[in-house]
Subunit: 168 residues, 2 copies
């Protein structure tokens, strides 16, 4: 099995992180990976807010009601889309970018966790308010990041019942 | 740069494929990668219809108005979600699974292209009719697959204007 497949199968959502910071170089690599995703009509409507400031991280965690669930993330990337550029496809495009970010993180030994924002109206409004979003930009999710400080054994989620060959 | 990052950056959507078939073993690896994605509340609402039969591939292409755009794909995976299991998150979950499938394909030298179904009502109804979907299952996209028969040089889509450090 090649390294890409191993990395995809090894990724697990992480809740508890050490206090080791993530270098700016690594954060930029994650964003580069995110922007390498495909997008509808190649519009690339994604935007990213990168947070490493401790106070802003704490406010973000409160805005997402994630203070109980997530412990110690040293960075967060709020994945957003400009809905005016691609109203029909931005949520899909940004999801693909987010998966690239999480896989790139895994490949660098960095743990991640998708915290949903959309379609929760309260979280959407909290995040828009916290970061003073421009009009047509919408948040999709926040990816919290850090070096894992927990068991990182992945689940085996393969289920042949989900596969339909040639017909339903 | 590690193999995962190289693979993410090397992926490009492919339109023109050779007639070389994809082994069932490889298709299963792609699906295994798809099901390794994270999902909201770990519900895993994804379902996959795998098509390799030529007649069904042709009908799928017509259903998606893709006969002009895509030439010669030897397989397609229709990525669907059971909306009754995860009404709020299935489109995101299935997008993440789809990106895993496309990245796994790239790692095996297989080209892919996301053909959108949602939110196009005509395509949704065509695909539901063609495959006789059960009630609460919804199609998201079709990933067409094959060995590339075209230039596979990827675009560099990195754009620092999309990145906002610490605040918008």
């Amino acid at each position: 099995m090649n390294e890409t497949l191993k990395n995809i199968l090894a990724r697990k959502s992480i809740n508890t992180f050490s206090d080791k910071p993530i270098s700016k170089e690594n954060l930029e690599l994650l964003l580069k990976a995110g922007m390498a995703a495909p997008s509808g009509k190649d519009i690339r409507p994604w935007r990213f807010i990168v947070v490493t400031d401790k106070e802003t991280l704490a406010k973000t965690s409160v805005a997402l009601s994630a203070t109980e669930k997530i412990k110690g993330n040293v960075a967060a990337i709020v994945v957003c889309g400009d809905s005016s550029e691609s109203e029909r496809f931005w949520t899909f495009d940004c999801s693909l970018a987010a998966e690239n970010i999480m896989l790139a993180a895994q490949s660098a030994g960095i743990g991640s966790h998708w915290i949903s924002i959309r379609p929760n109206e309260e979280r959407i409004n909290n995040i828009k308010g916290l970061f003073s979003f421009p009009g047509s930009v919408e948040p999709l999710c926040a990816i919290v990041l850090g070096y894992p400080e927990q068991d990182i054994t992945p689940k085996d989620k393969f289920d042949s019942n989900n596969i339909h060959w040639e017909k339903w």
